[in-house]
Amino acid sequence: MYDVIIIGGGVTGCAAAAELAKYQLNVCLVEKESDVCEGTSKANSAIVHAGFDAEPDTLKAKLNVRGNAMIAELSKKLDFAFKNNGAMVLCFEEEKLADLEKLCEKGEKNGVAGLEILSGDEARAREPRLSKEVKYALYAPTSGIVCPFEMTLAFAENAYANGVEFRLSTEVTAIDKISDGWKITTDKGEISGRYIFNCAGVYADRIAEMANAGGFRIIPRKGEYMLMDKDAGGTVSHTIFQLPTKMGKGVLVTPTVHGNLLVGPTAEDIDDKENTATTAGGLAEIRAKSALSVEGLPFGKVITGFTGLRAVGDTNDFIINEGAEGFFNAAGIESPGLTSAPAIAEMLREMLSKKTDLSPKTDHIDTREGVVHFAELSREEQNALIAKDPTYGNIVCRCETITEGEIRDAINRPLGAVTLDGVKRRTRAGMGRCQAGFCSPKTILLLAEKLGCGIGGVRKTGREEVQKDA
């Protein structure tokens, strides 16, 4: 009998796990995929939002601003990439200035610091590549960019180090109330726990229904993106949003924390919770809309396109409640969900503390060390590392300068990678301009060695556990 079972290994579930792991609780996290960070958390804009967008007094507003304030310190303690690069919201029409002012007021109500409205020229002085059509811009200095994979993994690994049990490749099929808590039926057997945290992303409505703790719907909102080569990464330094225009809701143009350029997303509500396909129309829309913000974006430098599904609730706000006795929902965690994750985790812990006594662990570890990024080390550090472990002297991914040592670490560490995409998210091997053309045969061999399977058993991504000797 666990004290708490968390359903879902995205950023919300993993942040909640890391939060609960500070207390003397027996916690288990259940995830249907073979790795954490496999849903919405892996395919989004990777923005640490300032918090001006949400309606005042909503959970989104409160948790966004709180999360924004927490992430800089967390990124240091838990070793994930974060940069406070600031954001601008562009206004292209003189008559829309009032909308921009409203947005600014909303942000101030939400407690966002440092907002200011810039003229087009002032905005271009700070961000020279902005279009001549920009009339005004709202500047938000507290906005940032983050690596969403590292952030989710950081929470997960920290939770693991503090005793949280992870059951991956485990899909919940039924949930039943029992006398002292809940019984969860999975494809790998039954688990029971006193309390349940439902952090199941686009599936949170179905999970809640299983426990009769729902009454809400999650509509997957498809967002397509294009990622450009690091050559194009310096096109802008701020995250550039748009006020809605005649063409509809805008798209963003932003550098990523690793120096690429990201444009997107589209926004299309769909029924299929698994539909992460890109479309010709979606990619064309991104091109057309992003060109409003920055003229001459180098679309010849696109290295990949991808689609994420935002878990949009039907209440216009995050759905964080006790849906049934001892069953807590953290649902509808769409944007700004990534930013809000640590604050959502705090809120869930707060709610739990009203049900049961939480006593802090005395031996809690509040730091975590990620996979070393060889390319970012000083010459001395690099040579010291190679002297200790020569595999750091062997480059596997030439585009991102990722060494064999990093890939081995990503595979061998607790909650290590079991798929090519898992290695990619932990190390960036295969994330570069050749998109794994050169490194994947080498990474496959390293994975096959660790997993004890043949080359054919190594998967790009996937739910099932690896079959040995496949």
């Binding site: 990949t304 062997n394 301009r433 496959i444 996937g462």
Partner: protein, 419 residues
């Protein structure tokens, strides 16, 4: 800091040929830096034959061709360091390298030859809509898996793009027991060599669908199939022509990109048409003492042409060092591609200081029948060569005699004249 007269970045066919030539031209203190564990580069995974017809007057496999040059390198005692990655080249020719044995190390070079080769255009750069499942590979990655790792990635195959590696892999996958349903090519002509279309597709009954492309990729975790549609003259898919091909493997052979990240960081000027460095007749880049050859300079069809070109780079580097590392001081004339010529290598020629005839290599922009290649400097026609057919998939190589160029002081134009 170790010092060398010549540092060659890359131990594939270009790097080896450059090294051999530099040594033949009198340079002693040379090193080849190779990231893989042996010399040969991509030739090592090209186990089919057809290499060496020009160079050795016989048909060799890729590894055999590489071995011929590796033997020369060895017999001449040219040093090479494998499992060594070059991380940076500075403008003043300090080369930073990484290896297990020596860690991160700076070495000083009097001259540098860039011979890093090229990479394949990935799926993402093609903007093919759909899912991102397992089973989508560039043709070269599949070639590596099949030929070097002994692993066949799938049984039912569709190939997008008719580049030479894709054509070769159509045959290779067939011989390994897979079924290749079709090769789709966006353009109305193939980007591969005629002989490869005959020997790799026609001989095995594999259809080549010209003016067709993949418009959707199905399958979330594993590839389940692709949708292929015909395209119009603007390369836009034609509604109603979509056809679903069930498959577990999609190979991409949609172009090669010279790998010039090191060159760009060094400050070498890049020709946007080739994605390779701008060079003069001696294959020297915009940075003094830094030369380029092989697929890092422009993508070749035949390794024989790579070897020949690289030998010229090796000779030029030797000459540069012997001259006391001083740059050519004379003013070059430009070589301008026009009317059907997409690019030229070189892009400029020091006509006043020539030491021999000058090769100009280029590709045409489309298919030209019954035409002539014309090279002019103003009204002065330097060369006219008739041709029955010119296609973009075949690199052209013309030689302008030194005596014809000696007096030329104005820009040289290379063009196709339709007769």
């Amino acid at each position: 800091m170790r010092e060398f007269d010549l540092v060659i970045v890359g131990g594939g066919p270009a790097g080896m040929a450059a090294a051999v030539s530099a040594r033949e031209n009198g340079l002693e203190n040379i090193v080849i830096l190779e990231r893989d564990s042996e010399l040969g580069g991509i030739l090592n995974q090209c186990i089919h034959n057809g290499f060496g017809l020009h160079t050795f007057k016989e048909e060799l496999t890729g590894p055999e061709y590489a071995e011929r040059y590796a033997e020369k390198v060895n017999s001449m005692g040219i040093p090479y360091e494998t499992d060594t990655m070059v991380l940076n080249i500075s403008k003043d020719r300090v080369v930073t390298l990484l290896s297990k044995g020596r860690g991160v190390e700076d070495i000083r070079a009097k001259s540098v030859i860039l011979a890093m080769g090229c990479r394949e255009r990935p799926r993402g750069a093609l903007n093919i809509p759909g899912y991102r499942p397992q089973g989508v590979y560039t043709a070269g990655t599949a070639q590596k898996l099949v030929n070097c790792e002994g692993y066949l990635p799938g049984k039912e195959v569709v190939i997008l793009g008719s580049g030479d590696i894709g054509l070769i892999m159509a045959r290779r996958m067939t011989l390994e027991g897979a079924h290749v349903a079709a090769v789709a090519e966006l353009m109305p002509y193939s980007s591969g060599l005629k002989r490869n279309i005959v020997q790799c597709l026609d001989d095995y009954g594999i259809p080549l669908l010209l003016s067709h492309t993949v418009v959707d990729i199905k399958g979330k975790e594993k590839l389940e199939g692709v949708v292929i549609a015909q395209v119009d003259s603007k390369n836009a898919p034609i509604a109603g022509t979509e056809k679903f091909y069930p498959c577990d493997t999609l190979l991409l052979s949609c172009g090669l990109i010279p790998e010039n990240e090191l060159s760009k960081n060094c400050g070498v000027e890049i020709d946007p048409r080739t994605n390779g460095p701008l060079v003069d007749e001696g294959l020297e880049t915009s940075i003094d003492g830094v030369f380029a050859c092989g697929n890092v300079l422009h993508v070749h069809d035949l390794v024989d042409f790579v070897s020949e070109e690289s030998a010229r780079a090796g000779a030029s580097a030797a000459e540069f060092v012997k001259r006391g590392c001083t740059a050519d001081s004379t003013e070059p004339v430009k070589v301008i591609p026009q009317n059907g010529v997409r690019y030229t290598v070189p892009s400029q020629i020091h006509t006043a200081e020539l030491t021999g005839d000058v090769h100009i290599r280029f590709r045409v922009t489309g298919v030209f029948k019954d035409c002539a290649i014309v090279v002019k400097a103003g009204e002065n026609e330097l060369l006219r060569r008739k041709s029955r057919i010119l296609v973009p998939s075949e690199m052209q190589d013309i030689i302008i005699r030194q005596d014809k160029l000696a007096e030329v002081g104005e820009d040289i134009c290379v063009e196709i004249e339709e007769v």
